[in-house]
């Protein structure tokens, strides 16, 4: 401790800068804690809100069927809910009817109270205020509380007693079943789903959506968190590497600076082992000081980003959490890293021949290597250029480290906008095939719209046309797919057929080309599409280049397969609003709104990576600043000697600019390559995990800003260093150097 404090008093500015940069790097390692913090917060929410183990949309289930379901093997509890579409302040909302004696989907009321009468409701926070009245199909409900439950978290819904909602659903009745199982393993939940499906089939009922399983205590966005975790892990590892490079650079400098002092102690009889121990303590002191600042910073960063993730994906605001293994791991890694890098530097300093160490200021005389000696025979450029080049050769490891650090900062700065531009382009291209402008999506589950077979295209007064269709979920090879049921001569799509032809019969299907390529699906292949009602067979007639994961099939055939011949669930329109929407409770949205909403979701991911990228970029930039400051500080006696023989400030600035130029150029080029490759790697990972084509669009527009920004930061650094060197009396600098 004493030796660390003594070192601190000698160079407080530099040590503080190193500690700050290292602390930020340690803080950035905190991103590794995001997945576990998010999972822990979600698990708390699952427990608090009583999320079921199996959730599935169904046709109406009566009390007798529900009692039978509760008697099935392994079923601990079962609940049904009913819902009906409505409107509140011009917004489409859903009224959810919940059983008052339920044990699942418990509402966490944050203000007011739970409904006590049939005409009372609880609204999602932000949707309404206590005392507001909600009109649903002519009935009026009063908002008596604000609250939420995980399944509908952040949706536009209000909750009421199921007995108040059921009369409003007409013949549809209940539409959703929730089950809690005794054994919540995946296999056991699938068995329950099969049993329920069979039990419902006996009464002529069916699933209208795919069951959602939450086996072994998993939560709704576990898969998303897993995917994001992998990428966050990469960035965390990157931040850790930057931290180690920074630690190595600082430690090496501080120890090398003491070469002469160590040499004197050696000359006086100091033992190598003891001297090395003293040197190691300096590095460990810096690491510990950085941890004191960095660990709380890491906790703050991880909680902040976890909050962003959970708020954007599931609409919950997590509590404060700490990931002890990540905390302990980063602390141990930094201390052990400090111990290892300092041991190497200490060994080097204590093994330099004593005479050399006593003679040379920093035990690093120029001319020791063949390359350095060769460089003195190259008379290219003026004296300043030669000095600049040779200075880079004097400490090749540090030069390489600075180039690597600039590359890391530039890489992160290029990666984020490249991800953003790629995602933007993807957002645009994913819907490029559609010709409709607006869509009315039925507010009720299943296929509630009666499609008019005789009017494939319904003309409207404004010249636009409408068309019934089906938009459902399906599965192909365990992949969730968009299943579009369209008329064979649909005007709502202009497919970008890259191979084969558009659908021309009941069993024909066109598949997204990116998905087909990743799953070895070719034109002419049979394709089994699993729908909520069961599997059905198609033949692939064409591939569509649409940056989606979709299958396009004949609407009428799909309606038959889904157990509702002649029915549909959407109305597409080439105008601003489908004409048929006025007769059906539905949500009307435009393609632009859908694109914007998807873009917002994708942008949320980009934002998260952006935040992490900024942290990584900041850490790398600080590492550059720290390394350069330390390097320039070491050479202050050189600058003083030059000033003593007549060098003016602009001469020193010129020297440093020339020195920086190749380092900056190398770093920028390397960084752009790293950023481009990194973006490709991340997007390839998304493409692979989603089986879609996303494509990479390099953010070339950002390059001038990155180059200028890098130049500006380095230029500022040079100016500050020269100004500070010029302010100090030359005699004092020279005396200090001696």
């Amino acid at each position: 401790m004493r030796s660390f404090l003594r070192q601190f008093r000698r160079a407080p500015g530099r040590i503080l800068a190193s500690i700050a940069a290292l602390a930020l790097a340690v803080g950035a390692i905190g991103v590794l804690a995001i997945p576990s913090i998010a999972s822990s917060s979600l698990s708390d929410a699952v427990e608090r809100d009583g999320l079921g183990d199996l959730v599935v949309e169904t046709t109406s289930i009566d009390p007798r069927q529900l009692a039978a379901i509760e008697r099935l093997d392994n079923v601990e509890a079962a609940d049904t809910t009913a819902s009906v579409a409505s409107e509140l302040d011009g917004e489409r909302i859903r009224l959810i009817g919940l059983s008052p004696d339920r044990t699942m989907d418990l509402i966490n009321v944050t203000e007011g109270r739970e409904p006590a009468a049939p005409d009372e409701v609880v609204a999602e926070p932000g949707l309404a205020a206590i005392g507001d009245r909600v009109d649903v199909v002519g009935d009026r409900f009063e908002v008596v509380g604000l609250g939420s439950t995980l399944w509908w978290g952040d949706d536009l819904v209000v909750y009421a007693d199921i007995d108040a909602v059921l009369p409003l659903t007409g013949d549809r009745g209940t539409d959703r079943l929730t089950i809690r199982a005794v054994d919540d393993s995946q296999a056991a939940l699938e068995t329950i789903a099969d049993d329920v499906r069979a039990l419902l089939a006996d009464g002529g009922d069916t699933f209208t959506g795919f069951p959602t399983y939450f086996p072994d205590g998993t939560t709704p966005i576990d898969a998303d968190i897993r995917q994001v975790s992998q990428l966050i892990g990469l960035l965390g590892i990157f931040a850790g590497l930057v931290a180690l490079v920074l630690l190595a650079s600082t430690t090496n400098t501080l120890i090398t600076e003491r070469s002469r002092e160590v040499a004197v102690m050696r000359a006086l009889g100091g033992r190598q082992r003891r001297l090395r121990r003293r040197l190691r303590r300096i590095a460990i002191g810096i690491a510990v000081a950085a941890l004191v600042i960095g660990l709380p910073l890491g906790i703050a960063i991880s909680n902040l980003i976890a909050r962003m993730v959970l708020h954007d994906f599931v609409g919950i605001t997590p509590g404060f959490a700490v990931d002890l293994p990540v905390l302990a791991g980063s602390a141990a890694a930094v201390v052990v890293g400090a111990r290892l890098v300092s041991a190497r530097a200490a060994r080097r300093v204590t093994t330099v021949p004593l005479a050399t160490a006593l003679r040379d200021r920093d035990a690093n005389p120029f001319g020791a290597t063949r390359l350095q000696r060769w460089s003195t025979r190259v008379g290219l450029g003026g004296l300043v250029t030669r000095m600049a080049g040779r200075t880079s050769l004097r400490r090749p490891a540090r030069t390489a480290a600075v180039v690597a650090q600039i590359a890391a900062a530039v890489g992160a700065a290029f990666l984020v906008p490249t991800l953003a531009t790629s995602v933007n382009d993807f957002n645009s291209s994913a819907h490029a095939v559609w010709q409709w402008e607006s869509v009315a999506i039925a507010g009720d589950p299943g296929l509630p719209l009666n499609a008019d077979d005789d009017a494939v295209t319904t003309g409207s007064a404004d010249g636009s046309s409408d068309e019934y269709g089906i938009w459902a979920w399906g599965q192909v090879d365990d992949w969730d797919m968009d299943v579009y049921g369209l008329h064979i001569e649909s005007r709502m799509i202009e497919p970008a057929i890259s191979e084969g032809a558009w659908i021309d019969g009941d069993h024909d299907t066109v598949v997204s080309s990116g998905f087909a390529e990743r799953n070895d699906i070719e034109v002419g292949d049979p394709l089994q599409v699993i729908l909520a009602a069961g599997p059905t067979e198609f033949v692939v007639t064409g591939l569509s280049d649409d940056s989606s994961r979709a299958v396009y099939v004949d609407r009428d055939h799909l309606a038959v397969v889904m157990g509702a011949p002649g029915m549909a669930n959407v109305v597409w329109s080439t105008g601003p609003e489908p004409a048929t929407s006025s007769t059906t409770p539905s949500t009307i949205t435009t393609l632009d709104e859908i694109v914007a909403e998807e873009a917002a979701n994708n942008n949320a991911i980009v934002m998260i990576f952006g935040a992490i990228g900024i942290v990584v970029s900041g850490v790398a930039a600080l590492a550059v600043l720290s390394s350069m400051t330390v390097s320039l500080f070491e050479r202050r006696h050189e600058f003083a000697a030059m000033q003593a023989i007549g060098a003016r400030k602009r001469r020193l600035r010129r020297l440093l600019f020339i020195e920086m130029l190749p380092l900056a150029a190398g770093g920028i080029l390397g960084g752009l390559a790293i950023g481009g490759l990194g973006a490709r790697g991340i997007i390839a990972s998304f493409e692979s995990s989603n089986a879609i084509d996303i494509g990479v669009t390099d953010a070339t527009g950002a390059v001038p800003f990155i180059v200028l920004g890098t130049a500006a930061i380095l230029g500022l650094l040079v100016t500050v260093v020269v100004r500070s060197a010029a302010r100090r009396p030359i005699a004092m600098s020279l005396r200090g150097a001696a």
């Binding site: 001319g367 040779r390 006696h637 050189e638 030059m642 003593a644 023989i645 400030k649 010029a726 005699a731």
Partner: protein, 260 residues
């Protein structure tokens, strides 16, 4: 020394006649810090040094010799007082003007040499020309540097780096660097302090030769025998000038002419 091309570019003003005061210090004071922590370098120094004089500054450690040398060389600035060197009030010059003045008018020799480690002997000397006489062509610089290195007996070491030379050789490069611009003034801070006797004498001879050619040389030393060879000996104690003694004749090497 082939500096024809150099001198046309440098065009320094003609030196004042010998004996005319080149350096005039009045109440020169340098203090670091303030209050109880104040550290006095020199205080109230009045001194006059003529053109072409070889002046030794002597005194015990901590007496202010090096501070006085640094002030005269313009590599430190006084806290108060005035300092005129070669007609310029150098205590009032800005950082950049002072740097320019140093490059053109002063040669500095350090005890620790302070050669630039990445430049060869020739390049170190060339650098002084580039900084002090910026109009000189590259060829002229190179020729002048080689000539002055030959003068100090280092022709064979012209391409060597400082790390490849002995202390004596490095100091001779340092002297060559100070001489090459033909300055009016050379300030040498214990130039022989880190050298053996033979190297020390070699370096001192180079400085006395420069003084004989009209350059004012102020050198700081602990070596009594070197001080005895000076035209004037400034003795310092506790930051003040204790005495200034001028050598009058070989029989009576020095006579005290002033006591501060």
């Amino acid at each position: 020394m082939d500096t024809t091309t150099l001198s046309t570019h440098a065009a320094p003003a003609a030196p004042p006649p010998l004996g005319t005061a080149l350096i005039q210090a009045r109440d020169l004071t340098r203090i670091w810090g303030s209050g109880h922590a104040a550290q006095v370098g020199v205080r109230g120094v009045d001194l006059s040094i003529g053109c072409g004089e070889l002046v030794a500054v002597v005194g015990p450690s901590g007496s202010g010799k090096s501070t006085l040398g640094a002030l005269i060389a313009g590599i430190d600035q006084p806290t108060s007082g005035s300092l005129v060197v070669d007609g310029a009030r150098i205590d009032r010059l800005s950082t950049d003007r002072l740097a320019r003045w140093r490059g053109e008018s002063v040669g500095v020799v350090f005890q620790d040499f302070h050669l630039l480690p990445t430049l060869t002997a020739t390049e170190n000397v060339e650098l002084a020309i580039e900084l002090g006489l910026p109009g000189a062509s590259r060829r002229a610089r190179r020729n002048a540097a080689r000539a002055v290195l030959a003068e100090v007996g280092l022709s064979a070491h012209a391409g060597k780096l400082p790390s490849q030379m002995s202390g004596g050789e490095q100091q001779r490069v340092g002297v060559a660097r100070a001489l090459v611009t033909r300055p009016r003034l050379i300030v040498a801070d214990e130039p022989t302090g880190a050298l053996d006797q033979m190297s020390g004498h070699l370096v001192f001879d180079l400085l006395t030769d420069a003084a004989r050619r009209g350059t004012t040389v102020v050198f700081i030393t602990h070596d009594v025998s070197l001080a005895a060879a000076a035209d004037k000996v400034v003795s310092m104690l506790d930051g003040t000038v204790e005495s200034v003694a001028a050598r009058t004749s070989p029989a009576n090497p020095s006579t005290s002419i002033e006591v501060a």
